[in-house]
Amino acid sequence: MSLLTAENLALVFAALTALAVLLYAILDGYDLGVGITLPMKQEAWRDTSIASIGPFWDANETWLVLAVGLLLVAFPAAHSAILHALYLPAALLLIGLILRGVAFDFRAKVKPERKIHWDWTFKCGSLLATFSQGFMLGIYVMGLEYHLGSVIFACFSGLCVTAAYAMIGNAWLIGKTTGDLQLHAIRQCKRAGVWTFAGILTVSAINPLVNANVYQVWTEPPLAYLFAAIPLLCFAMFALGYLALKRLPLPNDQGAWIPFFICKVIFVCSFAGLALSFYPFVVPNQMTLYEAASSKESLTIIFFGAVIVIPIIAAYTAVAYYAFRGKADGLKYY
C-alpha cells in the first residue's frame, strides 16, 4: 500500500491513459484506415475490406472511450481544459465516428440500391474522424492555442494522421486479403507511407522549435543519447517497410503481416516520442499530470479494478482475434 502514493498513482494513471490512447491509435487506426481508403470502384473489394474489420471495430473504438474516460476520471481538470479548447474539432470527430459506426451496419441491411450511399458515408465519416483527430493532436502540440500558424500546423497534422491511419489500414489489409485487393493495398500502403514519413519528419522538426522544453528533452545529454534511439528505430522501420512492400506479395503469402507489424512499431515510436516530449505535462506547458490528478482514494479504487480487469480484457480480446484469424472471407451474420 505504501507504494500507492498520490504521485505514483498519478504516474500510473498517466501511463494507463497513454496506453489506452496508443492502443486506440493502433487498433481503431487500422479500421479507420480501411475506411478512408475504401475502394469505391469495386463492390466486392469493399465487402471484403469491411468484412476484415467487422468483428473488431467495436472493441477497437472502446479504447477511445477508455482513454477519454481515464482522462475524465483521473485528470478531470486536464479533461475539461483539453476538451474545452478542442470543443469543435471534438464534435466533428464524434460526428465522423457516429456516421462511420452506423454506416457499417446500415450498409449490410438496407435496400441494395442504398448500399453505395452508406459506403460513401462510411468512407467520409472515417475521413472526418481521422482528420479531426490529427487536427486535435496538432492544436494540442501547439499548446491548445488558436492562431494562424497553429491552425495551419493542425491542418497539416490532420493530413499526416490521416496518412498514418491509411498506412496501417492498408498494412492490415495486406495481411487479411489476397489477389488483386492485396496488390491494391500494397500500392496504397506505399503511397500513404511516404506521406506519413514526411509528416513525422516535419512534426519532429517543428515541435522542438515551438516548445522550448521539448528542445531541451531531445538535446540534453546524457538522456538525449538514449532517446535518440526512438527516431532511429522509427526511421529504420520506414526503410525496412519500404523494402518489404517492394518485394510483396511473396509465394505462399509469406511475410504478409510484416508491414502491419512495422506500422505498429512506427506508431509506438511516434507515440513514445510525443509522450517523452511533453512529460510531465498533461496540458502542454500549463498543467502537469501531478497537478491534474484527482483524489488518491478514488484513484486507488480504480487502480485495483484496472489491475484485475485489464488482463481479462486482454485475454478475451486474444480469443476474438484467434477466432477470426486468417484471411477475411465474406462475413455472414448468424
Binding site: D58, Y87, I302
Partner: protein, 457 residues
C-alpha cells in the same frame, strides 16, 4: 440568442434521449437472443436459429447506434459540464471507469464472435459469447443506473472544500433509489423489446409471411408482455413511493400539487399554470393521491410552494408522467387483449396486427417520458441537494454550443428515420427467405422431416 446553460441542457437532453433509445432495446434483446440460442442448442430445431438470425441483425444495428451515441456522452461530461466532475468526480469517476472496464469491453469484444462467429468457433463458445454480450449490456445498465440513482439520492460521501469524497462505496452503489430505478429500467427494456418484437412479427404475418419463426416470436413477445406489464406497474408504484420519501418535490410536480394539503386529489388531467400556481381545467378524483401515496384518505402531501426555489418546473414533469402512465396502460391492455385471442384461436385479427404494428415503438415513448419525469424532476439540481445544474455548466461560447447542437439534431433525425425504415425493410425482406436454413452445422439427421412438417414448438 439562448445562453450556454440552456443550449447545453438541450444538447445533453437531445444526446441522452437519442442514446437511451438503443440500450433500452439491446439490454433485453440480448437476453431474448440467449433464450433463442439456448432453445436451439437444446432442441436442434432450426426455427430457433431463424428467430436468432433475424433478431441478431436488429441487435447489431441497434447496438452500433447505442455505441456511437454513447461515445458522444463520454465527451460531453467534459465539454459541457466540467463542474460535474470537479465537484463529484471522486464518486462519478470510479463508477464510470468500472462501467467501461467491466462492461463496455466485454460486450464490444463478444459482439464480434456473436455476430460473425457461428461458423468459426465451437457451439458452446458462440452461445457463451451471446450470454456475455447480454451480461455486458446489463452490467452497463447496472453501473450507469448506480451513478444516475446516486445523483438522485446521494449518500455515502462527505463534502470537503466543496468537493465530494467517498466514505462508503457500498452505500454509494446501493443508494436508496437504485434498486427501484434499476428494476424499473430493466422491466422497461423488457417491455420495449416485447412490443418491438411483437410489432415487427405482426408486420411480417400481416404481410403474408406464413413461416413459423414470426409466429413463434409473436407468441413469445405477447405472452411475456402480458406478464411483464402489470409487474412493471407494481414496480413503478414502489419507485414512486421511494421518490416521495427522498425527493418529495418531484412527486409534487408529478401530481400537479401546488400547495401542501391533507386528502390531496388525484389530478387525472389539467394544465399546470406556474403563474397562479393552479391547474386549469383539472379533472380530479378526490383524496386518491393521498390514498395512493400515503395509504390514508387524509394523508398529508407536500406541495410545490413549500420548496421555494428548490423545485422542478411543474408542467414538463406533470405531462411526462401522464404520457408514461397512459402509454403503460395502453401497453398492458393491448398485451392482454392480443394474448387472450392468441391463446384461444392461435391467430390474431387484422385489426390486432395493425394495432401491434402501430405500437412497435410504444416502449420508447414510455421510457423517454419516464426518464423526463425523473431527470427534469431532479432540477434545479444536477446532484440532488449537492450541485445545481447552473453551477456545473461550461464557459464555451454559446454560438459554438448552438452550432454543435444543430449538427447533432440533424444527424439524430436522419439516423432515427433510417433506423426505423431499415427495421421494417429487414422484416419485409425476411418474408421472402426460405423457412429454414438446413445447412446449419450440428443439426440432427431428421432434416427432411423438419422441413416438411415443422416441429411442435
Amino acid at each position: 440568442m439562448l445562453d450556454t446553460l440552456l443550449l447545453s441542457r438541450i444538447q445533453f437532453a437531445a444526446n441522452i434521449s437519442f442514446h437511451i433509445l438503443f440500450p433500452t432495446i439491446t439490454i433485453a434483446l440480448g437476453w431474448l437472443l440467449v433464450y433463442f440460442k439456448v432453445r436451439f442448442d437444446l432442441s436442434q430445431h432450426p426455427v430457433w436459429m431463424r428467430a436468432y438470425r433475424f433478431w441478431v441483425k436488429v441487435f447489431a444495428l441497434t447496438f452500433a447506434l447505442g455505441v456511437v451515441s454513447g461515445i458522444t456522452m463520454s465527451f460531453q461530461f467534459g465539454t459541457n459540464w466540467p463542474g460535474f466532475m470537479e465537484t463529484v468526480g471522486n464518486i462519478a469517476g470510479p463508477l464510470l471507469a468500472y462501467e467501461i472496464l467491466t462492461a463496455f469491453f466485454l460486450e464490444a469484444t463478444m459482439l464480434g464472435i456473436m455476430l460473425f462467429g457461428f461458423n468459426k468457433v465451437p457451439r458452446w463458445l458462440h452461445t457463451s459469447a451471446t450470454l456475455l454480450v447480454a451480461l455486458g449490456t446489463t452490467l452497463s445498465a447496472f453501473w450507469i443506473l448506480v451513478l444516475n440513482s446516486w445523483m438522485q439520492t446521494p449518500v455515502g460521501f462527505e463534502m470537503r472544500d466543496g468537493v465530494a469524497h467517498a466514505t462508503d462505496w457500498l452505500a454509494i452503489i446501493f443508494n436508496p433509489s437504485f434498486p427501484y430505478r434499476f428494476t424499473h429500467m430493466l422491466f422497461a427494456s423488457a417491455l420495449t423489446v416485447c412490443f418491438l418484437v411483437a410489432g415487427i412479427s405482426a408486420y411480417r404475418l400481416y404481410r403474408g409471411d406464413n413461416k413459423k419463426a414470426p409466429r413463434l416470436t409473436l407468441k413469445t413477445a405477447l405472452f411475456s408482455a402480458a406478464v411483464l406489464a402489470p409487474t412493471q406497474a407494481f414496480i413503478g408504484d414502489l419507485h414512486g413511493l421511494n421518490t416521495l420519501e427522498h425527493q418529495p418535490q418531484k412527486v409534487a410536480a408529478m401530481e400537479g400539487l401546488w400547495h401542501t394539503q391533507n386528502g390531496a386529489p388525484l389530478v387525472l388531467f389539467g394544465i399546470p399554470d406556474a403563474e397562479t400556481q393552479t391547474n386549469r381545467f383539472a379533472i380530479e378524483i378526490p383524496k386518491l393521491a393521498s390514498l395512493i401515496l400515503t395509504h390514508e384518505l387524509e394523508g398529508e402531501l407536500k406541495g410545490i410552494s413549500d420548496f421555494e426555489d428548490a423545485h422542478p418546473p411543474v408542467a414538463p414533469v406533470f405531462y411526462s408522467f401522464r404520457i408514461m402512465v397512459a402509454t403503460g396502460i395502453a401497453m398492458l391492455l393491448v398485451a392482454w387483449w392480443c394474448s387472450l385471442r392468441l391463446y384461444r384461436k392461435n391467430e390474431l385479427t387484422p385489426l390486432q396486427y395493425k394495432v401491434l404494428i402501430g405500437m412497435s415503438f410504444s416502449g420508447w415513448l414510455a421510457t423517454l417520458a419516464g426518464w423526463y419525469v425523473t431527470e427534469i424532476g431532479r432540477q434545479p439540481y444536477l446532484v440532488y441537494g449537492v450541485l445545481r445544474t447552473n453551477e456545473a455548466v461550461t464557459t464555451v461560447a454559446s454560438e459554438q454550443v448552438a452550432l454543435t447542437l444543430i449538427m447533432y439534431l440533424l444527424l439524430y433525425a436522419v439516423l432515427l428515420v433510417a433506423y426505423i425504415k431499415t427495421l421494417f425493410w429487414l422484416a419485409k425482406r425476411a418474408i421472402d427467405v426460405e423457412e429454414y436454413d438446413l445447412s446449419l452445422p450440428g443439426l440432427p439427421e431428421k432434416k427432411t422431416q423438419i422441413a416438411t412438417e415443422g416441429a411442435s414448438v
